[in-house]
């Protein structure tokens, strides 16, 4: 009888808490979103599974010596995993559409207003009793508006590791929800005739421009905003490898196996932060709400900037492409294309939206650097 009690005490059933049960269900929901709804499955599948593992009673995945503990220590505490992913994203990004029309960069800048407005909003929320965000917390939350996973994880790991799980989940979820969140805002802020505007075809871009672009970006960043150089630097390295054309085997590995390996473990490490004590709180609700607001404001400010630019530009600018400035590459650009096609069956905005789209990636990395410097 005594032995049976001992045996019972080794089971998870005997030790599982309500919080752990809830978090395992959260993990299951993430897996459902990843598999059945195809929400950013490359990240949400490992994150969801990591959340389940992290909440297994008695198994110690996240305690010293546990698998997820090591993965988090090695990959996130050091910042290596998001930076390696960012290098991979750089190696996968073609800046051609942006170089063909540099002004589009402004749209990728304007959309970052979502970040800074949300920072302000998060601090304002402190007037609500029960919520208490420090400036670092607010900054980490607001970066969700940047619509860029590795940037959000990197910044959260520096400023608010306790919120990292919720922030990463919110960021990837909203990125997956771009086709649902953005179109109503786009329709609200543009008229039918604006949405029908056709844009001039993009000029072809020379190889030299593409090689010098990442170099120009890293030089400007190091001169003006050194705190953004980890993110921007790794991104530019990836892009330079790609465009230089002389290290194809490195580029290929960076775009494929290296980014894949890191993605699996990054997801698991993020999932390890989905623990009951931290996630099942009022704060998470605040993060989810603020994240959605950040996203919406970013989309809106991108569109409004595009309208403003259209007023002063000789070439016509379809304001829809401003929405792609949030990044969420290439989903946001595809949504722009689709909404554009709804108004005009022969207007293909995809390539025009790619400019602001990749500018948005740079824009939020720069914004993250500013937050690191100022907070």
């Amino acid at each position: 009888m005594d032995k049976l009690t001992l045996l019972w005490q080794t089971t998870g059933l005997s030790a599982i808490t309500v919080g752990q049960t809830a978090m395992i269900i959260v993990g299951g929901i993430l897996l459902f979103l990843a598999i059945a709804k195809k929400f950013e499955p490359l990240l949400l599948l490992p994150i969801g599974f990591g959340a389940i593992l992290a909440n297994i009673p008695l198994a110690g995945f996240t305690e010293a010596g546990g698998v997820l503990y090591y993965v988090y220590k090695v990959g996130i505490d050091t910042g290596m995993f998001p930076l390696i992913i960012f290098m991979g994203v750089g190696a996968l990004t073609d800046f051609g559409p942006l170089l063909a029309n540099p002004k589009m960069m402004l749209l990728g800048g304007a959309a970052q207003f979502g970040i800074f407005a949300t920072l302000f909003g998060a601090i304002a929320l402190n007037f609500v009793p029960g919520i208490e965000f420090s400036m670092a917390d607010a900054a980490a939350i607001s970066i969700i508006g940047g619509a860029d996973g590795p940037t959000a994880i990197f910044l959260a790991s520096r400023l608010a590791p306790d919120l990292l799980g919720a922030i990463a989940v919110a960021a990837y979820s909203y990125m997956a929800l771009v086709p649902i969140i953005q179109p109503p805002i786009m329709r609200l802020l543009t008229s039918e005739s604006e949405r029908q505007i056709k844009m001039k075809q993009l000029r072809p871009v020379g190889r030299r421009e593409k090689i010098f672009f990442p170099l120009a970006v890293i030089l400007l960043t190091l001169l003006l905003l050194p705190s953004a150089t980890p993110l921007v630097g790794m991104f530019c390295l990836g892009n330079l490898m790609r465009e230089s054309g002389v290290v194809e085997r490195l580029t290929k590995t960076t775009q494929n196996d290296l980014i894949n390996i890191v993605t699996i473990f990054l997801g698991l490490a993020v999932g390890s932060k989905l623990q009951a004590e931290q996630f099942l709180s009022f704060q998470t609700l605040g993060i989810l709400i603020l994240g959605a607001i950040a996203f919406a404001i970013g989309t809106a400010s991108g569109i409004l900037m595009a309208k403003l630019m259209g007023k002063f530009s000789k070439e016509p600018i379809n304001p829809l492409i401003g929405a792609a400035g949030v990044s969420a590459v290439p989903m946001a650009a595809r949504v722009v294309n689709k909404v554009g096609l709804d108004s005009n069956q022969s207007n293909f905005l995809l390539m025009h939206a790619m400019g602001p789209n990749v500018a948005g990636v740079l824009g939020s990395a720069v914004a993250a650097g500013i937050l690191l410097a100022l907070v």
Partner: protein
């Protein structure tokens, strides 16, 4: 508390200005590059790997083409006999 609030407003203003200023500088650089960089061919890098991954059915790989020509040649030679 209200100090935090003012601080946040400040970060919002300074941050957004910095982002835009930075990107304006970058736009300036890009325009300079477009103007003054000697134009090479607008050669696409398209690494081999990327090309292979693309499912472009009409771009069979080099050794497939070689194999085909060999096969067709062999077949043709054989038929002649």
């Amino acid at each position: 508390m209200s100090e935090l609030f003012i601080n946040a407003a400040e970060i919002m203003a300074v941050g957004m200005t910095s982002v835009i200023a930075f990107l304006l500088l970058l736009i300036f650089c890009m325009s300079m590059m477009a103007k003054y960089l000697p134009k090479g061919a607008t050669h696409e890098p398209t690494p081999r790997s990327a090309r292979k991954q693309s499912k472009a059915g009409n771009q069979p790989s080099d050794d497939t083409v070689a194999a085909i020509s060999a096969a067709v040649h062999a077949y043709r030679t054989q038929r002649k006999k």
